[in-house]
């Protein structure tokens, strides 16, 4: 299993996935730093004019900076997870490589789990880098740093989409070719994001009450099929301790895509964890039975 895991890392490095991701991440950091500096400078100008800026205002500004950072960060982590694992099974089978590997004295589930661990560890490592840098840039520009335990909780939620997306993508790759699987997964992820966006609009009362029940059902179902974006919402909820600060400030006052909608419950987190495990298990079972 470790040999397969190591080879997966080698693949991601040699196929220039790492290089492309690094280049795009650097571009993101530059753009994000610029945005963070621009937002923070508004606060500083208020300070120089002699008006006392209270802690809550500063906190709200940092929350806005982080929300923007994690909005893009979530997309980056999600697409890396999807496109790194998109050809895991059929792509290998089409080139005949899988046949020469699976005829070796290794259990099929060992190979599958080795690949899964390779993609997940790679995605999680990227998630760490992105998470830390987003927090650091925000700290430098706004001076706000959250508590360690809060950061740890939100980090766990931020990278929880990696195993989720890798598990679904690898299951899809048991049947679909790389192109079909890639399109399918992108659309599924897009649906999940759309579900959350509609949820945000509903929570901001931008959508009229009429028919809201139907929409709630639809968004609920979408989020059950693809919980990735909802997990990101919960991550932001944890980071800004929205439950504890309820009533003190409102992040949704900007009425934007970056607003935080309804925060998913703990039950939803349990569901997401189970969903990930079931997808992984289904992939293992399908591979065990599949003819190559």
């Amino acid at each position: 299993m470790t040999a397969v895991w190591a080879l997966t890392w080698k693949e991601l490095i040699r196929k220039r996935v790492t290089m492309m991701t690094a280049v795009m991440t650097v571009l993101f950091w530059i753009a994000y730093w610029f945005v963070a500096a621009a937002i923070a400078s508004e606060t500083n100008s208020i300070v120089t004019t002699g008006i006392q800026v209270n802690v809550l205002e500063k906190y709200t500004i940092s929350a806005m900076v982080l929300t923007i950072g994690f909005f893009f960060g979530a997309f980056a982590v999600a697409f890396l997870s999807i496109f790194s694992s998109v050809s895991a099974v059929t792509g290998e089978a089409e080139t005949g490589v899988l046949q020469s590997v699976l005829s070796r004295p290794i259990k099929r589930w060992h190979w599958f789990l080795g690949r899964w661990l390779g993609f997940v560890s790679y995605g999680v490592l990227y998630g760490i880098i992105l998470f830390v840098t987003i927090i650091l840039i925000c700290k430098i520009e706004t001076g706000v740093l959250f508590e360690g335990i809060v950061l740890l909780k939100s980090f766990a939620l931020f990278v929880s989409v990696v195993p989720l997306l890798v598990s679904i993508t690898m299951l899809g790759s048991c049947w679909l070719g790389p192109l079909g699987n890639g399109i399918g997964m992108t659309m599924l992820f897009g649906m999940g994001w759309l579900g959350s966006t509609i949820g945000r609009f509903m929570s901001e009362s931008m959508i009229e009450r009429e028919g809201i029940k139907t929409l709630e059902t639809i968004t609920g179902l979408i989020q059950l099929a693809m919980p990735a974006d909802a997990l990101q919402q919960r991550m932001l909820g944890e980071l800004f301790s929205i439950a504890e600060l309820s009533g003190l400030f409102n992040l949704n006052r900007a009425h934007s895509y970056f607003a935080i909608g309804a925060i998913p419950s703990n039950t939803f987190l349990v569901y997401s964890a189970l969903y990930t495990a079931i997808m992984l298990l289904a992939g293992l079972l399908v591979l065990r039975k599949k003819d190559f």
Binding site: T95, V97, P105
Partner: protein, 317 residues
Amino acid sequence: MSIAAIETLQLSKDYGDGRGCSGVTLKIKHGEAFGFLGPNGAGKSTIVKMLTGLIKPTSGEARIFGHASGTLEARRRLGYLPELFRYPAWLTGEEVLAFHAKLCGLDKPSARKRSRLLLDEVGIGSRGSDRLKGYSKGMQQRLGLACALMGDPDVVLLDEPASALDPVGRHEVRELLQRLRSQGKTIFLNSHLLEDVEQLCDKVALLNNGHVLAEGSVEQVLGSKNEWRLRVGGYTPLASERIEQMFGAAVKVTMLTWMDESAWLELELADDEQIGLVNGLLVEMGVILYEVSKVKSRLDDWFMQAVSGLEHRGERR
């Protein structure tokens, strides 16, 4: 009684669209070289894949040294070269072998040693450190062969091993397979190159539309007669009569053609020793002997005869 290296019993695979194979029963002894023949789409690769455990049979069973195919025990004894494969271009030949060595459970020093040996043996040598994007199809094929041999398997399953090779490469692969055979490896060769099969294999089976049409030793399936061709000078029909009088029914003489004052004769003999006696008799009669050669029946002639007039599903539209 020793356990067969490869044994299939009523092995069948039904894909539901008319493809696959049905009731294939084969027995290959340890150390034998077995040629598996058949037109395109006959089901040869399906059977090879069932032996490796890549495809699950619909019914019947396959065993490798008594272990059910697909089990770890069976796969430990196997080396397999797939028909169509393309190793990742971002790896080097040595890395591919190192990865397969790990899968075979070899430790690092043994893997490195075996990798160097195999790279030399298949003719890749020092180019093993190059990335595969610089490898030709033939080099990839040689690397595939090296991978198949990495675990020092008792049974080598080769699906078209020489299909992408030039004549020199084919010759080298044939020599390598001969060496493996002399080392006591069991070789299961699935090939369209009948010349290779004829030179290497002890036994052959012919598959068409998923069914075994014929099976046996190469001599058996060819039904070879002990025939010789002679080019002689100063020949008269009297010479033929003398030979037949001397050897009786054991020798049949046929005159084929006259060419430039010499005649081509075909003799059917009971055994090879008789050719010496016939030679002596002809010299005694004053006939000049220019050329003597044994007539070899060819596997491709047999193959063409065996499948001619039959429908091949590989050609169906």
